[in-house]
Amino acid sequence: MAHTDIDAAPIQRILKNNKREIKLGLKVCAHCSLCAESCFLYAATKDPKYMPSYKFINSIGRLYRKNGKVSREELTKIRDIVWHDCVLCSRCYCPFGINIPSLIALARQACRTQDLYREYDKEPMGTAT
């Protein structure tokens, strides 16, 4: 099994404890992309991977859909999204009022349980895997 190299239990605990918030965010997001301009990284690069909605859907959203059963490789990609593509400046804006920073912070929490985080001294800007 691909997901045996990570311990899904602590991730599942985070998902379970915050189920209502995650479910609501995923359900309400209309995929309108109006949050894009509120991210300074998107504004500077125009790369869709920096859109706040893209980041929370592909991090905590992916973990939620798979109930935490992801491979380490997949979780590393999620780590890159929530640490390298987001600085959690919490300036993102959702027309519906979804608290995107809070959802991204949950994904960071999930990554930390598997010792996946950004080592700032070893990983300067632009060195995402």
């Binding site: 915050n18 359900k27 997001c29 109006l34 859109m51 859907i57 009022g97 608290n99």
Partner: protein, 231 residues
């Protein structure tokens, strides 16, 4: 043909009530569920720009100018076309069916409720506006990279579902493309499906929008909300 007539009878009889009851009960139920996810909190007073009435001695309509200038930093300023299309689309989505002559004649016959209605030409125009806005959203979804990366088949399906009642209603009214009875079956079937789905699908944003912006304290809240999430 007998089957078609029977189906139409069900769709324009009991199914209308079933759809309306599920729609209204669903909205009430989901609103209660959302409300119970919140708790009372202190209202936050965030003043982004100095109150021009206090800092400058300006009067009349000019005192609104700083506020209008502030709009430039909102979505109305950053995405003016999309904002305009979105606002027009959602307004027309509501007022077209509610003030449509055909609907209101039936409503008066059924429950004696006399609602005002637009002329047929106005309703046709509003329907066409909904259809064009829908087309705009569809092309945007398919062509703009930033929307395409988020788009799933479900998004396209929901967009089509929102548009279909208008398309089929327009075609039925003008007796185009298909036999009138068949088009009416499609019109009523899609409309009832849409009503039933609103509280339980992504259309749920219809409730959440007002909740998230008017009831929950945050930087972008409108009015003076006094509640916060208790996730």
């Amino acid at each position: 043909m007998a089957f078609q007539a029977q189906l139409l009878q069900i769709l324009q009889g009991p199914m209308v009530w079933v759809a309306f009851i599920i729609f209204v009960a669903g909205i009430i139920g989901q609103s209660i569920r959302l409300y119970r996810l919140t708790r009372r909190t202190e209202p936050e007073k965030i003043q982004f720009i100095a109150n021009p009435r206090k800092t400058q001695k300006i009067s009349g309509w000019r005192r609104w100018m700083p506020y209008l200038g502030q709009l430039k930093t909102t979505m109305l300023g950053t995405s003016p076309v999309l904002s305009a299309v979105t606002i027009i689309f959602h307004i027309c989505l509501f007022i077209t069916p509610i003030f449509l002559m055909g609907h209101n004649v039936l409503l008066k016959a059924a429950v004696g409720l006399p609602l005002p209605y637009f002329s047929e030409t106005t309703s046709d125009l509003l329907t066409l506006i909904v259809l064009f806005c829908g087309l705009f959203f569809l092309f945007r979804r398919l062509l703009l990279p930033r929307v395409r990366v988020l788009t799933t088949p479900y998004d396209i399906l929901l967009l089509l579902l929102a548009i279909f009642p208008f398309l089929t209603g327009f075609l039925a009214h003008h007796q185009l493309l298909l036999d009138y009875q068949l088009m009416m079956i499609l019109h009523m079937g899609f409309s009832e499906l849409l009503l039933i789905m609103i509280p339980f699908s992504k259309f749920f944003h219809m409730i959440f929008f007002f909740f998230g912006r008017f009831f929950i304290v945050n930087e972008y809240s409108l009015g003076m909300p006094q509640r916060t999430w208790q996730f």
